[in-house]
Symmetry: C2
Subunit: 277 residues, 2 copies
């Protein structure tokens, strides 16, 4: 099974693929998110592993937009803990490190480490795993990288310091996407997890519109796992809402809630039903 993802081999998305499908899946690296979606649409991949939100940075709206542009279904979700490590080519000791390459987001998440080690200068690079690949190939003097354990393994580099991130509560939630009609998957360990359904709908900004929409779920005792409103910039008084709730559409109460929601929404799309991570 070929699984498209954004980034270089060793990216956190590849860790997500392992959590979804084990070691047998073949990762298909793509430079950009839209290219990962296109790979799935054009059958160059059988699935795509896409980050959808992060505990520190919030929802990744670009990927919600791409979900709406394509006709895929979510077949699984997983949470990947974002752990940053200082990684160097074999032979370079911690005392010799002078520069640490990574994405600026990753470097910013390790500020305390750089404050404690002022001899190591953070340097922005376009990709986390790609920075490991680069220091292994080019061996810049005193050059290390900040990336995942998986990236160190893939490129044969050494971890000099583990878990150098400031905040241990840094998780990214990923969706596994497949072409329309695919059935939910059960990643290892998630067989007894409850079902969750994700949907997107839009409604006019009339007072209480979201309240009425949530009432459609609450009146059927359905538990909300996520709600987020997003103004539609081109259409000043319309909003998109992302909702996740516990349940699956073939339950009678979920069916009633969805019919009720359709009455209220200008647009509604169910993105998928899957085992909660």
């Amino acid at each position: 099974m070929r699984v498209a993802f954004q980034g270089e081999l060793g990216a956190f998305s590849q860790q997500a693929i392992r959590q979804f499908l084990g070691h047998a899946a073949q990762p298909v690296p793509c430079e950009r998110f839209d290219q990962a979606f296109a790979a799935l649409a054009q059958s160059k991949a059988d699935a795509a592993a896409i980050p959808i939100e992060n505990t520190l940075h919030g929802s990744i709206h670009e990927n919600y937009d791409l979900l709406l542009q394509h006709d895929f279904v979510i077949t699984a979700e997983t949470n990947v803990r974002v752990v940053h490590n200082l990684i160097a080519p074999p032979g370079l000791g911690f005392g010799q490190v002078r520069r640490a390459f990574s994405k600026d987001v990753a470097l910013n998440q390790c500020r305390d480490f750089f404050a404690r080690h002022p001899k190591i200068r953070p340097e922005v690079f376009y990709d986390t795993a790609g920075s490991v690949k680069m220091v292994m190939e080019k061996r810049p003097p005193g050059g290390a990288a900040v990336a995942s354990e998986l990236a160190a393994k893939i490129y044969g580099a050494r971890i000099l310091k583990r878990e150098i991130e400031d905040d241990r509560q840094n998780y990214t939630r990923f969706f596994l996407l497949e072409r329309s009609g695919a059935r939910p998957r059960t990643p290892k360990g998630s067989g007894k997890k409850p079902w969750k359904t994700s949907l997107v709908f839009s409604t006019r900004n009339v007072p209480g519109a979201l309240f009425r929409a949530l009432a459609a779920l609450a009146l059927r005792d359905l538990n909300l796992a996520k709600v987020e409103s997003r103004p539609l910039r081109g259409k000043p008084w319309e909003y998109l809402f992302y909702l996740d709730f516990m349940g699956r559409p073939d339950q009678e109460n979920v069916g009633h809630a969805l019919s009720h929601l359709r009455e209220l929404a200008d647009f509604l799309r169910i993105l998928g039903t899957y085992r909660a991570a």
Copy 2:
């Protein structure tokens, strides 16, 4: 009036300061967001202009967290349209540009431009406005920057191409923060805009908890402008909710709604009441 912001002079945050306070305010650049908050706390600044959400990237949770760590009030909001321009030192023509420096987020928002102009290679730099400063000081061969019009003006650089971003619907919403007790400000042109109140509350994940909280507003005919749930990672079954609604606490119906919300919430804090942008 001294206003702290994150970034170099010419950052989009400085544009926000002009929208809030005109040209008289003195911008106080800070390297990081927590330093901009600290500047206000330590009276090194009289206010801080802080981005809180972006139409493409969503809420900036880091800044919501910093808001909760400090006792400031929101005294105004404004939306800044994010316009990227190709900017070069005087004397460098468009045909001579070979490299364009900027933050990776900014470069990623100009993909179509780089696809149409393959001779110009995007190169990651730590700051948008800072990249203009750098090309002006160091004049790297064929080196241009991607940044705001304001950055071009401040550093005496020339705009070679305007509005090179892919998506024109790219806006960032900013809050003006001041120390506790400050009164709402009325940025130019916002005098007749309706009042908006922002609050944060947390509640246990019992079915329908958010529904009941929104009912407290809907039952008083209050219109919601934003809602967002955020799982509290350290406390697996608790959630933070960010709510913005139209109205101010001295209205009778808002007062009732807030008392009702306090009954339901484990924690509730009003972040401020201000004119809607």
